[in-house]
């Protein structure tokens, strides 16, 4: 498996988009931290960048990369290699390259300006989001044969998780404001990795005091070590489930 993985990494690194992504993240994180006078304000801005940019870049780049690799996959399939190994190599190659880009571009800067548990959480969440949305991109790419459809599906998925999902949650909160749905909201937030990461980070900041009763319930859950463990477990499931689905589909796919 590591034989192919090596070539995938070399191929992605040669692709200038990943380098460009690293530089953009580096520019953004450096300017955010040097503009704000307190690092916690900087962290809040970084959080928003991570929650929006990282999923978008991972989804779009990985989807396009998978389509552009169709010749590569075809070539490998005629060789004595397992389909499992080919798919794993592509996934590991992508998350290594994108994870490295995130760590170099944003992770190191965050850890320098905010060397605390909160800073570490932010970096881990950024890395997990990278892995999650790469896995989702693989699923989108394997499900649709047509390149335009696949990229469209990725954009719709990003819109859903980054924007539409929050709209639905807000709508539910207003509609059922009279009912005690706070605990239910915790469950709902598990259905969106971006929301889950956002709540996890916000709960480590002091701004959760501004969130009223819901904030208090959230704090009771996401503020405890058990809650954090469950949340990270859920994020890891968010990597596993799309990836395993894509792997199972790929094993039966005709090329």
């Amino acid at each position: 498996m590591n034989k192919i993985y090596k070539h995938v990494i070399a191929d992605i690194i040669r692709n200038r988009i990943v380098l460009f992504y690293t530089l953009i993240l580096l520019l953004a994180s450096l300017s955010v931290f040097s503009l704000e006078d307190t690092s916690s304000k900087g962290l809040l801005s970084m959080l928003n960048i991570i929650l929006m940019i990282v999923p978008l870049v991972c989804l779009i780049f990985s989807t396009i990369y998978m389509y552009n690799s169709s010749e590569f996959i075809e070539l490998l399939l005629s060789q004595p290699l397992q389909r499992n190994a080919i798919w794993w190599s592509l996934f590991i190659g992508l998350i290594t390259a994108l994870g490295l880009a995130f760590f170099v571009g944003a992770g190191i800067v965050i850890l320098i300006f905010e060397p605390s548990f909160l800073g570490l959480m932010l970096v881990i969440c950024g890395l997990l989001l990278t892995f999650i949305f790469t896995a989702i991109a693989l699923l989108a790419a394997v499900l649709t044969k047509d390149k335009a459809k696949g990229i469209g599906l990725s954009i719709i998925l990003w819109l859903f998780y980054a924007i539409i999902f929050d709209g639905i949650v807000l709508f539910m909160l207003f509609q059922w404001a009279d009912y005690p749905i706070e605990k239910f909201m915790i469950l709902i937030s598990m259905l969106n990795p971006i929301d889950l990461a956002r709540i996890l980070i916000l709960m480590q900041m002091d701004v959760s005091a501004l969130m009223g009763y819901t904030g208090a319930i959230f704090k009771d859950f996401f503020g405890t070590s058990g809650g954090i463990a469950i949340s990270f477990g859920t994020l890891i499931l968010w990597i596993m489930i799309p990836f395993i689905c894509s792997l199972r589909y790929f094993k039966k796919k005709d090329l």
Partner: protein, 232 residues
């Protein structure tokens, strides 16, 4: 060596392969012919498991290939209109393939030399012409001394000189007792190479016959004439 047992494959509402049953004995050189869209490439792809048949199974040296992958190390495959990763150089593709089949030490570089492939090693795959890519495909198919060669329209896009080199190479391997399956539309160049003919139409095998049988039946010398007579 290779037996496909009643394989069928359907793409959407189109039946591409319908109960295909063929046998490839060791040492046989089989011409796989038939009109466009008759399922030749799909049949070849199902032997390599690039396409998974809906029903039926493929036996390679007596064993069912379902879920297997190491058997592909014994196959040299040259795809039709070869597609390669565009931003890899020829040299990189070659070294990657050698890397994948590391345990195969004894490499056959005869074609690489005859085609002067080393001269284009630094070139990117995307910048090569169709014929050049075919040459890379041919070199890769023969490189690992496979027991069986599967060539899907090998001479399409090759210049006359290069296709003659390829033909001589196929004859040489045939003399060594290797099996070959060639799909082609140019019947005239198959004449001297093949021992058997499989004719496919609409996803079905119309017949699989040896060249001698065909000659006796039709009293013709040229393959193209024989096929024309049988089909008519």
């Amino acid at each position: 060596m290779i037996i496909t047992e009643h394989i069928s494959k359907r793409f959407g509402n189109q039946q591409v392969l319908n109960d295909v049953h063929i046998t490839c004995r060791p040492g046989a050189c089989i011409a796989l012919i038939g009109p466009n869209g008759s399922g030749k490439t799909t049949l070849i792809k199902s032997i390599l498991q690039m396409v998974i048949p809906d029903t039926g199974k493929v036996l390679f040296q007596g064993e069912d290939i379902a879920g297997q992958w190491s058997y592909r190390g014994k196959i040299g495959f040259m795809p039709q209109m070869t597609r390669y990763p565009e931003n890899m150089s020829v040299g990189e593709v070659m070294s990657m393939m050698i890397d994948i089949r590391k345990d195969q030490k004894d490499l056959d570089e005869e074609l690489i030399e005859q085609y002067h492939l080393k001269e284009i090693y630094p070139k990117r795959m995307g910048t090569l012409s169709g014929g050049m890519r075919q040459k890379v495909g041919a070199c890769l198919a023969f490189l690992f001394q496979p027991d069986i060669l599967i060539l899907d329209e090998p001479t399409a896009g090759l210049d006359p000189l290069s296709s003659e080199i390829l033909k001589q190479k196929i004859l040489k391997e045939k003399a060594k007792g290797k099996s070959t399956i060639i799909s082609s539309h140019v019947l005239s160049e198959l004449d001297e190479m093949i021992t058997e003919v499989i004719y496919m139409q609409d996803g079905q095998v119309l017949f699989q016959k040896t060249l001698e049988d065909l000659q006796q039946e039709t009293q013709e010398v040229k393959l193209s004439k024989m096929i024309a007579k049988i089909i008519a």
